[in-house]
Amino acid sequence: MALTLENTLNWLHGFDQVIEAKKAYLSQLDTPIGDGDHGNNLARGAAAIEAALEKNKPTDLTAALKTIAMALVSKVGGASGALYGTAFLEMAKTSQKTQALPDLLAAGLAGIQKRGSATTGEKTMVDVWAPVVTAAQAGELDQAVVDQAVQATKEMQATKGRASYVGEKSVGHLDPGAVSSGYLFTELLKTGVDK
């Protein structure tokens, strides 16, 4: 369970493709409980990641994670840009000490929580990242963990981010950032890094 330059590039290429394919669906999820731009935001980020990886051609894991982070930070423009960007920045920092997947994911989660100060149960991407980190640390990360975490956001009431403005009316909708984080971890699992 370790990230390498190679599986990380595979991982992000996979994510970028899924985001492009699911752009409209993610923005649609963001419409009843947000401002309807999550898919478009992330699609800008995905295109920027592809362009940056092509241009910079990182030669080690830390450089790759940093390149990904900066593309997200500069181009996404919504809360998710700062959050995913900080996650990858913290992963880049931690990758100088270890390449172990549970540690890197835990650093990413810590970054998201530093930036957005959300805890679990607030109907955000944290509700996917947190159980994924726990499972990875226990050596039990699989697709079911990811899917369950994403689905669980549906019945939550948002208390962070734009969805918190509609209060109770946020119940019954999947959180868009949780869904996109679900895609991120699904693509991670596809690289076989958990094997």
């Binding site: 947000g34 509609v166 209060g167 009316k169």
Partner: protein, 122 residues
């Protein structure tokens, strides 16, 4: 009883901007605005406010303003108007955004007012 939003600011750009911010989240909520003086300067205009009241398709309006003098001109327009106008002494951008998001989600006025209460700063 349909509800709409009225934005009154000393500067036209502010009203245009707040309308853009709101419309992204609350595309179906009728929002009209009055910004600046009649000759495009910084200030508020009762005439412009009255036009924004008339132009709003909603039956009742939730009104937000920036500074005290905008409130005074809003109150004049309120007195001249037949349409009920509810005026909130809350942060302009944050209050209008909150109200718009809740209106879009189908929340009632009494509940919206509860959510606006912590934003009262005037």
């Amino acid at each position: 009883m349909s509800l709409g939003i009225l934005i009154v600011s000393h500067v036209a750009d502010i009203t245009v901007g707040v309308q853009k911010l709101i419309s992204q989240t609350a595309a179906q909520v009728p929002v009209t605005v009055a910004g600046g003086t009649d000759d495009g300067g910084v200030g508020t205009s009762v005439d412009k406010i009255q036009q924004a009241v008339a132009a709003n398709k909603a039956d009742e309006l939730l009104a937000f303003y920036d500074l005290g003098s905008a409130k005074m001109n809003l109150e004049m327009a309120q007195e001249f108007s037949n349409k009920p106008i509810y005026l909130y002494d809350v942060a302009l951008i944050e209050g209008a955004y909150t109200a718009a998001a809740l209106l879009q989600a189908g929340v009632e006025r009494s509940e919206i007012e509860k959510q606006l209460r912590p934003l009262k700063i005037k």
